[in-house]
Every structure is written in C-alpha cells, then in structure tokens.
Symmetry: C2
Subunit: 324 residues, 2 copies
Amino acid sequence: MTLTVHAPDGVPEVVEGTDLAAVLVGLVDLVDGDVVVVTSKVVSKSEGRVRAGDRDGALAAETARVVARRGPTTIVRTHHGLTMAAAGIDASNVALGSIVLLPLDPDASARRLRERLHALTGRVVGVVVTDTAGRAWREGQTDIAIGAAGLTVAESFAGRVDAHGNELAVTAPAVADEIAGAAELAQGKLGGRPFAVLRGRADLVLPADEPGPGATALVRAEGGDLFGYGAREAVVRALRGAARDQAPFGAPVPPEELLAAVAAATCDRATGSVEEGVLVVRAAPDDAARVRPLLDPLAFAHGWVCTPVEPGSAVVARMRPSTP
Amino acid sequence: MTLTVHAPDGVPEVVEGTDLAAVLVGLVDLVDGDVVVVTSKVVSKSEGRVRAGDRDGALAAETARVVARRGPTTIVRTHHGLTMAAAGIDASNVALGSIVLLPLDPDASARRLRERLHALTGRVVGVVVTDTAGRAWREGQTDIAIGAAGLTVAESFAGRVDAHGNELAVTAPAVADEIAGAAELAQGKLGGRPFAVLRGRADLVLPADEPGPGATALVRAEGGDLFGYGAREAVVRALRGAARDQAPFGAPVPPEELLAAVAAATCDRATGSVEEGVLVVRAAPDDAARVRPLLDPLAFAHGWVCTPVEPGSAVVARMRPSTP
C-alpha cells in the first residue's frame, strides 16, 4: 500500500473571512477519498479567533479545569475536552503581541470546510483540523486531530481475530491522529504550508452525507482516564477533598480495589471488610490515629467517601461510594 | 512538499534469525534519505523474543515500576523507560498461547538494521522501530518510535523565530513518532505489512557514520514528567510515603510552590514562611491536628520531607527538600 502526503506551497496569509476551501482548491486537484488536513491556526484565523494579549491572560477563559502545574507550565482541560499546555493558545505565526485561540468547535469547522470543498469541486473528502500538542511521558510534540469531518477517526478491530486466532479487542488505531502527524511531516512549522492532502486511505472517508463522529470521539470522557490530574495535583486535590474535584479521579472503584489501596497506603496497618456495600476499615488502637487521616483522601481518590463512626470503636471508618 | 509512505506486501512470516534487511531489500528499492520503518513485533520475532505464556505472567519481568492501575489495566514504565499498558507485551499476530516481548534494546536493533541495509545496498537510510501505544487523555492508540537509528528524532526550533518575530523555543516536533504513525496508516494491523518506507524527508536522515540520539531521546526522564503516576496511584504512593516512590513525582519544587500547595490542600488553614531554605508551617491550635497529617504526603509529592517539631508549638511542621 502506498500513501502520499502533499503539502502545497503558495498559501497566502489567512485573515478573518478567508475562504480556506477556495484557497486549497486553487493549489491542489482533489480526488474522491482524499483526506484534507489543515492546521487549527489558519482555521482560527479565518474564523476571527485572533486576540490581542498574551497566553497567560487568555488562559482562564479557555480552561475548563487545571490538570497539572509545574513552574511556568500549566496543563489544562479545555472546554473541548482537550488536555493541553496553555489550553492550546498559540503565540507563534501570528503578529507580535497577538494570540490565536483554538476554534470554538473544531468538528464544526471541519464539517463546514468539507461541505464547501464539496460545493466547489464535487469531491467527497475527509477533513482533519490539527493542533500541535505535547504528550505525557514523551519529549516533543506531535500534531493531533482536534476536529474531523467525513472520516473514520479510529479504526475498530473489536471482535476481529488475527491470522493466529488471537482477538484484537482493544486495538483501535487513532488514524485521525496519525493522519495529523503525517501531515505535519509535510507541512513543517516554518514553511507556510498549513494544508496537506493525504491520498491512499479512501477507505477511511465517509459518504458525503455522513459527517462521522468527529475528533470529539477521540477525547476520553472526564473521569475515564487514569491521568485526570498530574501526580502532584492529584495529591493536593485528594487532600483538600472538595467535592467538585472528585470526578476527574473517575467513578467509584469496586470495594476490593479500594481495600487494596487502603492496605497499600497504610502499610497494612488497616484492614477492611465489605458489609452490604459499605467498606468497614479497622485498625489496632495504637494505629488508629495514624491511619484515620489517610482514609479521607484515599476514599476521595477512589470515588468513595468516609462516613462518621462512633469514637473509640475498633472501626476507624466506614466508606461508601460517592454519589455526586 | 510531497512525501510517500510505501508498505510492501509479500513479507514472509518472520522467525528467529530472519534477516529483516534482506527481506526488505527484496521488496523495495531503497534510495538515500529513505526512512525505513519496521514494527517491533517482527524485530522481536527475529531476535527470538517470543515466549510461551500470557501477558500477565510476563509483566513483572518487563516492569521497572507501576505507573497506574485500574481494573484489569496496568500501565507500567518498562526498563526502556516506555510508559505502556502491559509493558508493551504483545499477544496478537503470534501463535495462540505465545507472547512477544519488546526488543531488549530497540535503538540497537535499529542501528543493526541500518548497518545491514547499508551493507546490502550502499544506501544511507534512517530506521525507526515502532510499537502501538495508548495515550493519556485520548482514545485509541497510535504507533510510536521505540527505536531509531540514523535519524533526527525531534526537530528543534530553539532560538528560531517565525516570520512575525515570535520565538519558537519550546516547539520540538517529535518527527520519529509522526513517522511511526504515518507508517501505521500504510501498514495496517491485519495486512501482514510490517515494513514501511517513508520517502521525502531526507533532511532528517543522518550521515552513515552517525547513529543519532535514538528513540531513547524521546523518553522523558524519570521525575521530569508531570504524570509519573496515575491520579489514584499518586495519592496512594504519597500517603504511604515510601522513599523509593518519591522520584517519579519529580525533583523538589521551589519553596513558594510547596507553600501554595499547602495553602490549597489545607483550605488556607496553614500558613508558612521560608526560613533559611526550610519551610516553616504554622496553624491555629484548633486546626493543627487536622492540618498536620496532610503535610507528610504533601511534602512527599513535592520532593520535600517533614522534620520533627517540638510538641505544642504553633509550628506544626518544618519541611526541607528531600535529598535521596
């Protein structure tokens, strides 16, 4: 199988109101099944998302919640559900003293571009809107899909088996993100090539009347991720125990899982048993004072909550699943 | 700019001792500046890394430390420094009842393949060894570079400015990962195409005598990442406070940063001041008992440690940076 990725030169400066589809059509002959990739930067510029100011000043309005902080770095979850440093606010390739906010609804931007390309050319293409994002655990950034239209964004092999009979249940290549990265290799950061066209995966392109799931489908739901907070932020939030901070830790775990966490955190000084859905935690009298303060943050981080117990009892806490 | 990604059909089953370079050379005419991409699966098979057994049984030996757990999912840091579910142990595209471990040293595997390709063809190419990995915050998986040779794995724009005069200091596209993802689009998961050749980015390929930094350069150092533990795991580890668990939280923060965390976690019930590098934490007498147990895990997560104070003092703790 052979793919091509073509990023055309000669794109003029994009300003509010620029017809991106018309620009691209003037530079590339599209065919059915092409995937058109465009940076969110020029989508934002065409949609009037340029603001005077700096990134720090604009951060709060773009932030749904803070995920992690260290020194000058703030990683937040945006209103789109994207987890990004500085909420994806961009201060490069824009006039000095200005910033570019992400498109308000990148999937809608992708749909509009797809429809306009269809109107201009009659071609049925997929569209990906990209942004440059850092990753946990790895240096550097890759481009990812923050908007998509007319495209299968993740292949699914659920129920498929390989040639050896092994199930491929959990394998779901996030092809929209791989397309975004492939496009970046041709676009570069300094060449003025905000468009790319990937040809050769027409199987991923949906019929003209199907917008598809959009890149939103690649965003893991709040609470569904194991890394909803940075490691330090998680500790601070669990110790504080404010109800509004609990959801990013995820839904209540099964009691056995919480029991294992209690044993680990207390170095086995506390034991517990499950009694009618309530986790009853006990400790030796000498250990109770040391164990008890650990249980509130532990319960909090596992989607549970401690309820009061009678003083002087061998029971140091009763825990029940939190029901926000 | 135009790139092509070609994944040849017709690759025979790879077994221990298979000469991967000879297989590829029989299928593709390489040119100088090509980037050859190969899945870690066939590299491992050729290197005899297939084992009888299941993933759970092999996990401990491949694990440097556990990063996060939830239900049946265990995400670990491998001895290579890769953060992956099940340590990258693969149970697909292998005989039922067998598993494939990652190559012992994927950068070395890439260097050997590069040298062998050069010996067979005289061509100077880059090599990327890939694996399929999940990501924080996003659904699905992408292929990433776990080994590389003769390749610039991350472009650097440090000190460069864009056409508007904005510095691009932190922009470092992880091109080796983007190449891995682009290759996956052509390889697929079920087509028996473990090789791909990316043509058009010869600027990333190093001279024959330069192996380059390898994909190891894309691994963020232990303690350098904000997500060294999953959110729940971070809470459990901080509450337990075992010295060996502290490094993944990172180096000691500046005292002002810890002070802000103390204020946040205690809902401003504790205040502090920095006195000769020691953080002195005070609280009202009524609050001291509630505040004190929070300070050990807080200090721990920020690379600090609490030292004993005289009982009955308004000082509830003195903290100093941890020096492991």
